[in-house]
Amino acid sequence: MSTLVAAAPGVFWRETKAEFLKAARMPMFAIPTVLLPVGFYALFAVGMGRGDQSVVTQMLATFGVYAVMGPALFGFGANVASERESGQLELKRLSPMPTGAHIVGKLVATMAFSAIAIALIYAVAAMVGIKLSASQWALMASTQITAVIPFALIGLGVGYRMGSKSAVAIVNVLFLGMAVMGGLWIPLALMPEAIQTIAWVLPSYHLGELALMAVGHSEMAYFWLHAGPLALLSLAAAVFAWTGQQRHAA
């Protein structure tokens, strides 16, 4: 039997475009997630750090991870919760939309959005004369963009489980908690030992360390020390998101 369903690539592309427009047109989402990271970076690294090369570089690595956390956690956590609550997901589920097109579209749109947030920080760093090789730029940027995935999965797990109001609250706590305790704002070495221990179960910490490696501020020898736990945590986040989706579908 010939299919009556539209070709998948076109649907994925249109979902991505729609998700990007939705994010870009929501000032309450777009402004804090894009402008706050670059604002903080300018304040902490350039202002308080007085443009010191080492500070500017280290903070670029970790603030880039911080910058993708916002779009990923809020875009998936808070927005999926409200789309589910309002029946928008239900309507898509009853349509012949290829399974997951909406989520994949959201993921790609979030990556594009994160790329803008990161690009703004990179621009500030470039203005104060940061010295990085092309391969260091590329490695750091790809690490930070990939960081969208684990945070999106965590957000998705929250969005499928909670009402939109509680989802916003939870996501705020996760966002700030993972940023601070993951050492993205202040190096973990300057924090109490308890927080240094907690950091091991936070994807933000491992992603920050991997981004630091990319710009030569951590030893590549430690790669698996962070990539390993990150892979496990991402897997756990995927299970969290998947079981949430199953609850929603039931």
């Binding site: 299919t3 369903v5 729609a18 427009l21 939705k22 928008q88 349509s95 012949p96």
Partner: protein, 303 residues
């Protein structure tokens, strides 16, 4: 376009479904016909929404078989021929009416053009408006637009005109009639009797999870061959009740509503008993009366 023979369009066969140990449907059989508007009527909790949910693949049955175009309702090719308007559903705030419709129509290989959908749903003037700037009624019309976007062979409408003004309501009815005339099957769940009467070729009354009546609006109304006589009279209820043909009397002060199985006999006797009778209003039994009596009888039988 594959042709549809009746029977394999959409059917529930010996379906049972219960919630929290309460049987909503038990051994339930039901099928839809192409080119026909079928209205599901019945009190809240009778099982209407469950039937809509089962046919659209939102719910799965505890027992029995559900076929949509010969397939499981969850099959993508079944969904591609189905359009659903849910009772309560939101829209993406930031997208415009036209963007939402284009996105949804894009899921269907033979979906309608956005301009045609806007036109059929009466939304052309609102095409560029963001969804969060729409009134409740306008949002319902967008939901209707999404339901027809894929040129469905089965259109399921759950309380489609709640919140619509009279004009929008009539416009929606017109479009639904056109869809049926072009061969689509329409399943309409509604609380509005005028809507069922205006649209439906077939009424299915659900009470207590069973089909209490199934037929044309005229046939269903005929099930209660009665007339309501409204008069102003000083006569007491007892006297009115004893008149020939009277089934039931409701008295509010001097205003009496007399339900009669034989209007002529009742009226003649009434004029003899009270020559000063005035403000006489005689109406045939309404669909609402018929429905109430069918449901009441079914529930009594079940109890």
């Amino acid at each position: 376009m594959p042709s549809i023979s009746s029977g394999d369009l959409a059917a529930l066969q010996s379906v049972s479904k219960s919630y929290a140990k309460r049987n909503v449907l038990q051994d339930f059989d039901f099928a839809l016909e192409p080119g026909t508007v079928t209205a599901l009527l019945g009190p809240n909790g009778a099982g209407k929404s469950t039937i809509v949910g089962l046919l659209s693949g939102r719910l799965s049955p505890d027992a029995g078989v559900i076929k949509l175009f010969g397939l499981d309702p969850r099959h993508q090719n079944a969904r591609a021929r189905l359009g659903v308007m849910l009772q309560a559903a939101g829209l993406p705030d930031a997208l415009t009416v036209s963007e939402v419709i284009t996105l949804h129509a894009g899921y269907f290989k033979r979906g309608l053009k956005t301009a045609d959908i806007l036109d059929q749903a009466g939304l052309t003037a609102l095409a560029k408006r963001p969804c969060d700037k729409l009134s409740g009624g306008e949002q319902r019309r967008v939901q209707f637009a999404l339901a027809i976007a894929g040129a469905p062979d089965l259109l399921v409408l759950d309380e489609p005109t709640t919140g619509l003004d009279v004009q929008a309501r009539h416009a929606l009815w017109r479009t639904v009639r056109e869809k049926a005339a072009n061969g689509a099957a329409i399943l309409l769940a509604t609380h509005h009797m005028d809507e069922a009467e205006a649209l439906a070729d077939r009424l299915v009354v659900i009470a207590d999870g069973r089909i209490a009546a199934d037929g044309s609006p005229a046939a269903i109304k005929g099930r209660v061959a009665g007339t309501t006589i409204r008069v102003r009279t000083p006569l007491c209820a007892g006297v009115l009740q004893s008149l020939p043909g009277v089934i039931k009397v409701v008295l509010r002060g001097a205003d009496a509503s007399i339900f009669s199985s034989h209007a002529r006999n009742t009226l003649e006797a009434l004029f003899r008993a009270d020559p000063s009778l005035n403000d006489v209003d005689v109406t045939a039994a309404s669909l609402e009366d018929a429905l109430a009596s069918i449901v009441e009888a079914t529930l009594k039988e079940a109890a």
